[in-house]
Symmetry: C2
Subunit: 399 residues, 2 copies
C-alpha cells in the first residue's frame, strides 16, 4: 500500500492528539481493558487514575516536554529552564486541584554542556521542587544536540474536590487568578535587543515584570487548593440549589484557546450524559470512558453554551497596550492567542463570588451565556460584540 | 566567578545522576520537606511513593526518554519504536514487581513526518499498552528534528511484595529469566548489511531471533508477578529462618553493570542500616531517605559481598559465539557490557530455588559470595577466576 502524502504538519498538535485518543480508545476496547480500575479523560490538564487511594482520591499525573529551541528564549538562564520544567507540570496539577506527590525528570543534554551549566539547571529543578513541595523521585539522563526536559508531575486529589474542565452553566462567571498577556509580552520583548530598548524607554519596571513572568513563571498551586475546597462545598447538601461546579484550567496556550477547550470538554461531558429522556443529569465529577459508547442517541437538545467576555473587565494596564504597540505587536493577540501565563482560568456560579473574594484574589472577565454557536465572544468598549477565534499556540502546525 | 572547564562528558551518565541525587537531597533537607508522606530511593529501577494507597501499597513510577538517533537502529519500524517506548518503562515496573496502572506519552516528532508513519508509531504504543494492560492516560506532543519519545509508566505494588535491588546474602543464587546478549547481537548485526549477510549465512533462524529481540523486546511482567509473590512469602513467619529477600533489576545496560548496581544498592542499604552495635538488622522492604543521615558511624564491619558467575552456566548457544566472531564482535562484551535484553536479573535464597522452578523458567548463573572487593567475578571454563569490570552502556560519556 502506498503511503499518503499527508504530513503531521497538515493536521497540527490538537488534531494529532485527537487522533491518538481515537486510536487509543479503539485499541483499548478491542483488547478488553478493565476500565473499572481507572476513570480518566485524556484532554484535561492531567490524567486522573482511580486506583485505590485510601481517602477516596484520584492519582493525578501530568507530563510535558520542553525543548530548548522551542520553549526557552535565548536569554533564559539554565536555572530558569530547570525551574520552568517543574512549573509547567505543577501548573497542570493545580488546574485539577491536586496536591503534588512526586516529580520525575527526564533530561537530554549536549555532550559538551558545561558542568556548571548542568548544575545550574539541576538547581533550578530542585529549587522549584522545594518551592512547590514536590519531591524529585526519579528520571533519566540522555544525550541530545540541545536541551530537552521531559518531566512528569504526580499528585492526588479527593474525588469531590477535583477541578475538571466542565460543569458550568449559563450565568456562571468566567474568572482568572491574575493578569494575562504579560508572559507573552515578555517573550516578544526578548525577541531582539531593539524591542528591549524601546520597551524599557516606555516603562522599565513594567518591562521587568513582563520579563520576570516569562522567564520565571509560577504555578497557582495555593489558589487551586482554595478553588478545590469551594468545589467540595458545591457538592454538599447546603448547595443543592446550585447546579454548577467550578471548571478550571491553566493558561498555557492563550485565553481564547483555553476557553474553547473548556467549552469542548463541557460539550463532551454533556454528550456523554445524554440519556433517553433527553434530560441532562446534575453534573458529577466522574467521567467514565465507558459512557462514551452511549453518546449516539436518536435525538437530544443540542449543546448550547458559549462564553461572553467584557473588554472593560480585562485586567490590562495602559503600559501593556503602549509597549505592545511600540514594538509592533498586537496586544489583542498577546492576550488571547499566546499563553505561558500559567494563571488559572475558571468558572464559578455567581452565588459563591462574594464568599470566594474573601479567600482569593481574582478577576471576573466574563460569563457563560446561551449560544448555539458555542463560541467565545467579546463585548468591546464600544458595545460591539466580536467572535474571538480559537488560535492558540500550536506545535506541529504549518498554518 | 569563572566557569570551570569541565563538560558533562567528563563525568558520564552515572556520575551525573549521583550529582542530581546529591543536590536533590541537600535541597530537600534544607527546605524541610515532609518525608513522612513518601519513601523513595532514586537509583532503583522505579521510584516508590508511599501515598495512602488503600491496600498498603506503593505508587511506582518510572520514566525513560528514547531518542531516535541513539536508541533506535535504522531498521526499526515506527511501530517498533512506539512499542519499545512502552516496553522499556513497563520493564522498570516489572523490575519492582509492580502492576501497571497508567502510561503517559510525551512525543516529539519532525514537522514533515508522514502521517502514516505517525499512525504506525501510535499503533505501536497502543498495541504495547494493550499487551501489558497499561492504559494510555495522557501526554504531550511537540516538534523536534528527530523522534523523541519520553514516557512514564505508573504502577502499584504491595509493600511486602516489592522487589528492590538489595536484600541478598552470601550463598544466594544469581538468576536470569532468559538468554542474554541476543538483543546486543541483533544490534550489531543491524549495524551494516555485510554483518547481516555474514550472520545469515551461519544460522538464519538464530539471526531472526536476535533481530526480533532487538527490534521488538518484551518486558518480563508475568515473571515479575511470580517473583513478587515469592518475595511476599519470604516475609512470612514460615520463612523466618531465611534472612534474604529477592533482589531484582531488569537488564538495560548489560549484565556486569546491573550486577554492580545491585551490589551498590545493597551496600547503600547496609550502610543505612548500620546501628551502634554494628549489627545489621534483618532486611525489610522500606528504605527511608531519613536513614541516610545516620550512615556515618564511628566503626562498623565493612560491606563484604561480591558476585561470582560460572561461565559454563551462562545460557549462551554455540551459534551466538560463532556469529559474534564472524562479524568481528567480542561475545563476552555483548553478554556483559551491552544491555537492552529486558530480562530480569535477580537473586534468590537457595532454599526457594526448587519451588520457584515449578512456577518460573529461569537460569542460575552464579551466586553471591564473600568478597572484600565487592567485585563481580567469572569462573571460566578453565577454572580461572577473572574480575568483570563495570562498563555498561553509558550516555554522555567520552570514555
Amino acid at each position: 500500500m502506498n503511503k499518503t502524502s499527508f504530513k503531521v504538519s497538515d493536521l497540527g498538535e490538537k488534531e494529532l492528539i485527537d487522533r491518538i485518543i481515537s486510536r487509543n480508545s479503539k485499541c483499548s476496547f478491542s483488547n478488553n481493558f478493565d476500565f473499572n480500575d481507572f476513570k480518566t479523560n485524556i484532554g484535561d490538564d492531567s490524567a486522573l487514575i482511580n486506583h485505590n487511594l485510601a481517602n477516596d482520591s484520584y492519582i493525578v499525573a501530568s507530563s510535558d516536554m520542553l525543548i530548548q529551541s522551542t520553549h526557552f528564549p535565548k536569554d533564559m538562564s539554565y536555572y530558569q529552564m530547570g525551574y520552568k520544567s517543574v512549573v509547567v507540570n505543577v501548573s497542570d496539577l493545580a488546574a485539577m486541584g491536586a496536591k503534588p506527590i512526586g516529580f520525575l525528570l527526564n533530561l537530554a543534554i549536549p555532550n559538551d554542556l558545561n558542568l556548571d551549566d548542568f548544575d545550574e539547571l539541576i538547581c533550578g529543578v530542585t529549587s522549584a521542587c522545594a518551592d512547590y513541595h514536590i519531591p524529585l523521585v526519579g528520571g533519566d539522563t540522555n544525550e541530545a544536540n540541545e536541551i530537552i526536559i521531559s518531566a512528569t508531575a504526580m499528585g492526588s486529589v479527593q474525588k469531590d474536590e477535583v477541578l475538571m474542565k466542565y460543569g458550568f452553566n449559563p450565568g456562571d462567571l468566567i474568572c482568572i487568578t491574575g493578569e494575562i498577556g504579560l508572559a507573552a509580552l515578555g517573550f516578544e520583548i526578548l525577541c531582539n535587543d531593539k524591542n528591549l530598548e524601546i520597551a524599557k524607554s516606555i516603562d522599565s519596571s513594567f518591562v521587568d515584570l513582563a520579563l520576570f513572568k516569562s522567564l520565571k513563571p509560577k504555578a497557582c498551586l495555593k489558589e487551586s487548593f482554595i478553588l478545590s475546597k469551594y468545589n467540595y462545598n458545591l457538592s454538599s447538601k447546603d448547595n443543592c440549589n446550585i447546579n454548577s461546579r467550578i471548571a478550571c484550567t491553566d493558561i498555557t496556550d492563550g485565553v481564547a484557546s483555553e476557553l474553547y477547550e473548556i467549552l469542548k470538554a463541557d460539550k463532551q461531558y454533556y454528550l456523554n450524559n445524554i440519556n433517553n429522556t433527553n434530560k441532562v443529569p446534575k453534573v458529577s465529577n466522574e467521567f467514565n470512558l465507558e459512557d462514551a459508547s452511549n453518546c449516539c442517541r436518536d435525538s437530544f437538545e443540542p449543546y448550547s453554551k458559549g462564553i461572553l467576555l467584557y473588554e472593560d473587565k480585562l485586567p490590562i494596564e495602559d503600559e501593556f497596550k503602549e509597549i505592545s504597540s511600540a514594538i509592533g505587536s498586537n496586544y489583542f493577540d498577546l492576550i488571547f492567542h499566546v499563553g505561558e501565563d500559567f494563571e488559572l482560568l475558571f468558572t464559578i456560579p455567581k452565588e459563591i463570588a462574594d464568599s470566594l473574594k474573601e479567600d482569593l484574589d481574582f478577576f471576573v472577565i466574563g460569563e457563560v451565556i446561551n449560544s448555539e454557536d458555542n463560541s467565545v465572544e467579546l463585548l468591546d468598549s464600544e458595545g460591539k460584540t466580536v467572535v474571538i477565534k480559537s488560535k492558540g499556540y500550536e506545535h506541529l502546525s504549518s498554518y
